[in-house]
Assembly symmetry: D2
Homo-oligomer: 100 residues x 4
């Protein structure tokens, strides 16, 4: 089962600057070889369910290892069985309609 998620990882108790932790998560996604795209309030990730969620778990593990004792993430999870649709497909579908 393919999945597209949008993930935002928030470490607690480490001050207000979280970019070091976000950067570590980006490296986890790169190392996992997953298609992903960061935006201003999270990251789109797509791939096979098990691979995507293994990377999400690895993000939590890595951020804990960096010293954050508490993490609260929020996530959207999209699956569909009718057809495959990539991140870019979704964006282009709206952009085409906006240009009409």
């Amino acid at each position: 089962m393919k999945v597209m998620i949008d993930l935002c990882v928030i470490p607690l108790g480490v001050g207000t600057s979280v970019s070091t932790y976000v950067t570590a998560c980006q490296r986890v996604l790169q190392d996992a070889g997953l298609s992903h795209q960061m935006h201003g309030y999270g990251t789109n990730i797509e791939g096979e369910w098990d691979e995507v969620f293994a990377a999400v778990k690895r993000c939590h593990e890595v951020v804990h290892e960096m010293g954050a004792v508490r993490i609260s993430s929020s996530m959207r999870i999209g699956t569909r069985t009718d057809r495959e649709q990539s991140i870019d497909d979704k964006i282009n579908s709206v952009k085409t309609k906006l240009a009409e």
Copy 2:
């Protein structure tokens, strides 16, 4: 790694009544033997990371099998390494302060 999540599964393309699908997900959680508590806009679930996320995957699979071709879930994910804290612990901590 223990995890507490809050999950809201939304099937698309099956009309506006989603309680049949929510009920099926509750059964998935019961069958998995996971501690969980439904509220008005989602369900708290706690347990070992792998067991909890296996149940989330099963929810998506079951809802697809029931005929929903598209699902969009939203989830909060909480982990902590400093101490164990159950759903009830969290609620009681606030209720105690509210009563002060």
Copy 3:
């Protein structure tokens, strides 16, 4: 327009214990006279759109006044035009089906 939301307010840079801030938000909701119900990972709130969102804004203001310089909340927002449905209606609809 009536709305039902599920809100989870997360203060950053104030340590890992957030129950003092959650308690302050519960007081905001009580003072606003809004129907609300706390669970283990957020709070259900229902009412008129403008009143509910005024309370959400007040929560952010109060938590900042308490010393948190950064807040990241997550929220689900439900509206429907076909019929009114309370938090309890939604829960009972699933509980009835579970008992069948």
Copy 4:
């Protein structure tokens, strides 16, 4: 109070293709003159709290007017009192660290 949100509007009961509704929301944001950036699973929006949330309300109203009788949105809400930080600032902060 400035705010940055990430919004994902999901209309229920209108089939599985939601791009027409997402497009309408993009127009609402354009008409409101709000800085915003669509991604594969939502849209970043930044501005003054009241203006941003007026636009969110307008999105729900417009999608209902288009025929969706039920909507379930998910949103992240970020506020900070220590300094101003734009969507681009946040992204660049991580990109700089990734390149180190």
